[in-house]
Subunit: 524 residues, 2 copies
């Protein structure tokens, strides 16, 4: 996820050293693999494809040595699939001995557009420093270059900005050393009769793989960070595929290791130079700590971790409950933030209410397993929150839940109430069918929210509609050329970006990896 | 020196491993020193100063911590004097935890103009890769950055190209680790009664110091390379100051280590990745190998080295003699190149003839010391070359030597004939006075040629004129703000560059360091 809302809360962190130490102990070894580019390409204008750029093969990679580059020349290498790792290559001079440094620009792209449109034109609000490029001065040739930073890309442009008039250069032995903590051998083959679902499953797993490093990252291009909202979905996909329980456990310990004075967990963490809680706190993300622990225990039956982290999980729910108004409602104020979805007009009160209900239900189950005293208080709060929702947020006339003072009807609100299962299954199904048949104007803008739409359909028994939605949305990305699933995809506006430019969007993003979970968990 | 004439001669190198090994053995340890900037400055427009830019102090360096830089902000640090070395600094974030990489641009400048005019506007023929800048992406903050390349600069611009909206940065502990093979403790204090000569001597020594690394370099900004023409002058200044005989010896062994099949030494060498002879061969520079060995022996009395390298030195003279025409004249053809000076219209035949005479005279002295059989042949060649010069190149009517089919009269020609001492001293003096009083249109364009002018005046007994010229030319650079003496300086056109822009000129250049030699050697 990117920046949901610009904020910097003054929070005093009270580190729990034992938790931080445990997370450190769980730090995974990374699997490394050498990958070479498959071909040289060019990028050409085509208004019929996404972003208006398509690739065209120029030569097999064996021909690389034929390309002798002087000042102003460039080549684009295609690594055949999305890659996350470290680049190295050899560059050697041709002609006289190099009598001036080589000035070289490298541009990395997940998508063809990143090879075609200059990054210098980007003017969005998210930092341009995420655009992946380097300018190198190489004093001595020939030389093997090993770049110290990790990149996320399929395409690499090598551009000679300056040599001297006396020499040109040839590139050789270009390698990406990929890194991931995902173990492919752990994935059960799917062999699905539906070829599209089979392909969506494969690309989901590739997406998850490229987001798994020493933590679950939201996106390897941007922000390369552990966000709770992404972690929750990655963990679910991981249980259905790589089954790396320790990595989830590590991330749960990390969040529990840096709570604020109230015990609240941050929406995201930085790993370096040390573990740091970001000063962003989100209502929904904090609650997802609790649901993530629930999911982890359900998948792993690791009671020891459950016991250790239950106080942190319980605390998130308590903090949310403490802030309910007398009617048991999440207050529609600017004193708190929830993410829910990237949508500038979305009122987030009702979705947050539903997420609280969804979470309390799971917290109660954990309290029961642990025979925790809080069972009763949680059950009371649940009743209060559900009653509050029905008395104020439910609009019997339209048959939809509404949100905020403006009584806004949105997709997100209905979806989250369906997931919270406040209705019996059949009524839940009616809610979802009503939503599909009478779509509100405030729609969905992320794969993240589309995941919740599909899961709400599945939970409420609309399996056919859920599968259709999954195939249409994620299948659409495949048709549009996805190697891994994207951070953002709006089929009606394929240039959509909440940041000001599609150049800065992430095209391998954790919250898009869930179809493998949906397909495998729900037996689609 | 830069590129005298674009050329790439097909030469087969026959390495002499014993010489290369000896040069390796002589590789010096470098003296290292930590230097910090003294102040923060701004660069402001002023048409009355060189290049139109002057500096203005903004704050003492202690105030650096007050400068909190966000996107688009920059500061300029002034290191108080010319520096050659490695930069390191600390950068720490201010505000929220850094949620995007820091994109930082560093620009190094020997002169204020390099801080003011964008390098992107440079369009000259010498590679723009010599312009000293770096663009860094820093993923983790705070961090100490240690740049691996060596820079030549007084000014450093730190420019924040991108952070995120959530943090800014502060720079701390900025250090240049300077490197040189010059030992200051070996320099005899001068205490000259003339303050200007005293200052010119000091700056000459600083210039030489900053060009002394593991070889004598022409300029630490550009080309950072061992050129024979520069080596000769550096060695002379070095004998009068640092007296690092081993470094000269090493350079002489390096050139002798990679001759071509004919035994010819290249005009310049590359040290990395291994010792490589450039494919540029210059008539005058090859001969300067011989005169450099003569100067080295004269200063050091190192007979062992003289014996070892005499065959190489003798061979350069033989090759030049072999190519004389039947009248004993250097042929005015495009089949060979001499540097002489950066002047597009200069005909180089006569200067080359004079340099040959100058060289043969010294070769004869070495042959006598070694009692070498070639004495007689050299003496015959000297006579022939002098006779050729007088019969064809001397114009009694004008009292000047002429060059080429066009019988061009130039400063360079007269200067080199005075240095070759083909006349008795008094006649030599008349030649030089005539030159000063009736200046030819083809003038001097480099400090390199100005050195030869001053030395020619001194050799011919025009001491007063020599000192006046030295003070006016090098003193002019001081008035124009030189911390070290420059590669190029034309008092009548201070924006002069043979490369297309003053941005690419080198402002610390070996061939400008000779005043300390002239002052000390001639007792000025």
């Amino acid at each position: 996820m990117g920046e949901p809302k610009m904020q910097a809360v003054q929070a005093i962190i009270e580190p729990v050293e034992a938790f931080i130490a445990e997370s450190e102990r769980l730090k995974p070894e990374l699997y490394k693999r050498k990958v070479t580019p498959g071909r040289l390409i060019e990028v050409i204008r085509d208004e019929t494809v996404i972003h208006g750029w398509k690739t065209n093969k120029l030569a097999d990679i064996e021909e690389l040595k034929v390309y002798v580059l002087g000042k102003g020349d460039s080549i684009i290498l295609d690594f055949s699939d999305h890659r996350v790792g470290f680049l190295s290559f050899k560059v050697r001079p041709v002609g006289s001995p190099p009598d001036a440094p080589l000035k070289l620009k490298l541009t990395f792209g997940e998508m063809p557009v990143e090879m075609a449109e200059p990054f210098s034109e980007y003017e969005g609000w998210v930092s341009s420093s995420w655009l992946q490029e380097e300018t190198l001065y190489i004093d001595v040739l020939p030389r093997r270059i090993e770049l110290p930073r990790r990149y996320s890309f399929r395409y690499l442009k090598l551009e000679v900005l300056a040599t001297s008039v006396k020499y040109r250069v040839v590139f050789e032995d270009v390698i990406c050393n990929t890194v991931t903590s995902a173990d492919h051998s752990a994935v059960r083959p799917l062999d699905h009769p539906d070829a599209l679902l089979q392909e969506i499953d494969r690309v989901s797993i590739r997406t998850l793989e490229d987001c798994m490093h020493d933590v679950f990252e939201d996106g390897p291009k941007r922000d390369r960070r552990l966000w709770l909202g992404d972690l929750r979905l990655q963990a679910l996909a991981n249980y259905a595929t790589f089954r790396n329980f320790d990595l989830v456990k590590r991330c749960l310990y990390l969040f529990a290791g840096v709570p604020d004075q109230k015990g609240r967990v941050s929406a995201n963490l930085f790993k370096e130079p040390a573990i740091i809680a970001d000063d962003t706190y989100l209502f929904d993300y904090s609650l997802f700590y609790t649901t993530s622990l629930f999911d982890y225990y359900t998948a792993s039956k690791d009671e020891e971790t459950l016991k250790a982290l239950w106080p942190t999980a319980k605390r998130q729910v308590e903090l949310a409950i403490e802030n309910l108004d007398p009617q048991g409602l999440v207050q529609d104020q600017d004193t708190w933030w929830a993410f829910i979805d990237w949508h500038p007009e979305l009122n987030k009160q009702a979705s947050s209410q539903a997420i609280l209900i969804y979470t309390i239900k799971r917290a109660i189950q954990l309290a029961e397993i642990l025979n925790c005293d809080s069972k009763k208080a949680l059950a009371d709060a649940l009743t209060k929150a559900i009653n509050g929702a029905f008395s104020t947020l439910w609009d019997p006339g339209s048959g939809f839940f509404v949100s905020g003072a403006g009584r806004q009807v949105s997709w997100a609100t209905q979806i989250w109430f369906a997931l919270a299962e406040v209705f019996p299954k059949e009524q839940n199904k009616q809610l979802m069918l009503r939503l599909l048949n009478s779509p509100p104007a405030i729609g969905l803008s992320t794969p993240y929210m589309h995941h919740h739409l599909v899961e709400a359909l599945l939970v409420s028994g609309c399996t056919e509609e859920g599968v259709a939605c999954l195939k249409s949305y994620w299948g659409g990305m495949l048709t549009d050329g996805a190697d891994t699933f994207w951070e953002l995809y709006d089929p009606s506006n394929k240039n959509f970006s909440p940041y000001g430019s599609y150049l800065i969007n992430s095209y391998c993003h954790a919250w898009s990896c869930t179809p493998t979970y949906l397909i495998r968990q729900y037996g689609l």
